[in-house]
Amino acid sequence: MLEQLAKWARKRSPWVYHINASSCNGCDIELVASLTPRYDIERFGAVLVPSPRHADVLVVTGVVNAQTKDRLRRVYEQIPEPKFVIALGACAAAGGVFKGCYNAGQGVQDVIPVNMFIPGCPPRPEAIMYGVLKLLGEVK
């Protein structure tokens, strides 16, 4: 019963923590745009929280490099279970334009497990909302 309630609450109010793992800021701006009144992702209960310890969903933007790799893993480990990871943008999904550079990895999934990829450079706010809602639909 209590478990059911927790699941319902999680589904109706996912708290999002956003980390920029050396992104160019394009995806970050689109993520913020999806919070604006025009798109208003908060009507689905999604709130950006300032600490990973309060979060249910981790949104990662940017290609992971040597400087951000360990920090990303540390932030991921601070999020309480159950946790979901969204890789936002082409860089987070597969390296994007930085693929093959000396200091760039090949996406977030090499460092932490990812539940949802949202492609695009940058993805439109509609795409971000579609991705988040699809992820919530998968939450069982």
């Binding site: 040597a66 550079c101 000396y102 200091n103 090949q106």
Partner: protein, 160 residues
């Protein structure tokens, strides 16, 4: 660009035994020997009042490394190019003439391995990660291999 200004720069260049050319309208390109470059830039700043250093770029020219100081003055450009040997990549810093050059010099130190004598932050990193192994070659040299650097930084992961 006024004629008087160009003539003035050409006179500095002649004093430093440097070649000048005008690749485009409003752009003066000066090739100065490495030993003269500090003196030349000092005169450019203090006598001709070319005060804005836009950036410093570094190049890998196979035998040598090239360093180009890009100055802007009103709407005109003055580019000062100098060559540094690849075997002993050391040149004098211009931080005491133009304090803002400190970050540009650090960037070239990170990326091409040129040491600027007199720059107080040569022991720090600007762009490279903290975990950068000291024995790796600078990443923007043409001889460096990105795949090997990624392997050393543990960024290459086997995909199934």
């Amino acid at each position: 660009m006024s004629e008087a200004f160009i003539q003035r720069i050409e006179k500095f260049a002649a004093d430093a035994k440097a070649k000048t050319s005008q690749p485009r309208r409003g752009e003066t390109f000066v090739e100065v020997d490495q030993s003269q470059v500090r003196e030349f830039i000092s005169r450019l700043v203090h006598e001709a009042h070319v005060l804005h250093l836009s950036t410093i770029t570094g190049l890998d020219l196979d035998q040598n490394l090239g360093i180009i100081y890009h100055f802007t003055h009103d709407r005109d450009w003055v580019q000062v190019k100098t060559l540094v040997s690849k075997t002993a990549p050391t040149t004098k810093s211009i931080v005491d003439i133009i304090p803002g050059a400190i970050l540009y010099e650090m960037e070239i130190h990170d990326m091409l391995g040129v040491t600027f004598e007199g720059n107080p932050w040569m022991d720090r990193k600007l762009l490279l990660p903290d975990t950068w192994p000291a024995d790796l070659p600078p990443p923007l040299l043409k001889s460096s291999k990105p795949a090997e650097i990624r392997k050393r930084l543990q960024l290459e992961v086997e995909r199934k």
